[in-house]
Amino acid sequence: MSTVKTEDGHFHHAHHFNSLSHQYDSAKQGVWLFMVTEILMFGGLFVAYLIYKSIYAPIFHVGSSYLDVKMGSINTVVLITSSFTMALGIYFNQKNKPKQAVIALALTIVCAGIFMVIKYFEYTHIIHRGLVPGKFFNNPEFQQKVVDFISNMPIENLTPTLSDTAHMKKIAPLYFGFYFVMTGLHGLHVMIGAGLILWVLIKTANGKFGAEYYTPVEGVGLFWHIVDLIWIYLFPLLYLVG
């Protein structure tokens, strides 16, 4: 690390910066720029999702009924709480209280763990029902439900694509393609975030941070909040608005 607590208890900034404050601001700006890239990356997925939802609305409507809203809500609460504990982790570092900071960061990791466990159960539940994209798809009941839903729609709302029931049956698994890619990529980010928080936790426990220097905690915190942010959008889109 470029800034290390020395014996005299002071932090030193890297030589190309003017001061610790200068370094802190620059580091923060760098992390924000990286967060913009994360938003655009997930944003691309959201764009594709919104477009296909408009074209194939019945598939997305029936598909979202196969997701467990309760599990999703719990996950949302878990992530929001983890965001809170992460903010606390930064707060305690700002106040030179490493012990409380370690507890807060540990709680954040615990929340991330709970999220992944619930996600695991959701996934196995869905996969066991054969609702996977591609050639392993095996749930004719889902396909039939889509067709039934379409046939119950008022005829003036039907588009030519939707009227082609054979085609709609074939492409029904598209919804779960989106589900797995979007939640999978998000879950990957949760795991990466948990790893980063662990790294920062260890450094906090070793006394590497203090009120003058807590930049890595703040940076990891920003990343974790973005992960939470993405889930705040993902949850209603996938689970609720069907």
Binding site: N18, S19, L20, S21, H22, Y24, D25, K28, Q29, W32, L33, M35, V36, T37, I39, L40, G43, G44, F46, V47, L50, I51, K53, S54, I55, A57, P58, H61, V69, S73, T76, V77, I80, T81, S83, F84, M86, A87, L88, Y91, Q94, K95, M153, N157, T159, P160, T161, L162, G221, L222, H225, D228, L229, I232, Y233, F235, P236, L237, L240, V241
Partner: protein
Amino acid sequence: MELAIQYSLYIISCVCIFVPLFGFGIAPPTVIGTALSVFAGNAYSLIAQQGILKNFIKDKKDSGASGGLIPILEETQKLIDGIENPGTAMKAESHSHGHDHAEGSHHIIPIPVYVGVLVVLLIGTAITVEVAQFDFGAMNTVIAMLVATVKASFVLAFFMHLKYDNMLNRVIFGSGFFFLMLLIAFSVADIFTRVPVLKAF
């Protein structure tokens, strides 16, 4: 003075070029809007960060002028100082003096505020789930996204500190969102004018 000439000449030439093209209605406003916002941003940064307004006021006062516009200009300068540095007095983006002054970015948010935001977010989640029980037709997605955006702004403002951060970080984040909207807008412009799209069940 030369700045005013520079800016007004550019704007006049933009308008003169684009008035004939106004029939199309989309691109010229975009380009003009971009140009104007770039100029506005530059003007703002010149005032806020390079202190041209401050220097102008100082020059006027040094040469003995008083009254008239000066109080108004001073108020504007104070306002901009307030925007740039909530809670601190001076700001200089250039490092010409090298001294370390406290910046707004070190502002520490007290725990009760965090708890309050947490409560708001949890209530927001409950609202999200509750609102989803009702069917607003084509507005379903829009309403869900609006609620999500409100929750997101709380996370951004408080947990991610943006409310107390400097303007540039907010601009950086906002630009990410803006360009995402561009991607959505233009892709939708193609898809929705080509593929039959369902508006309601």
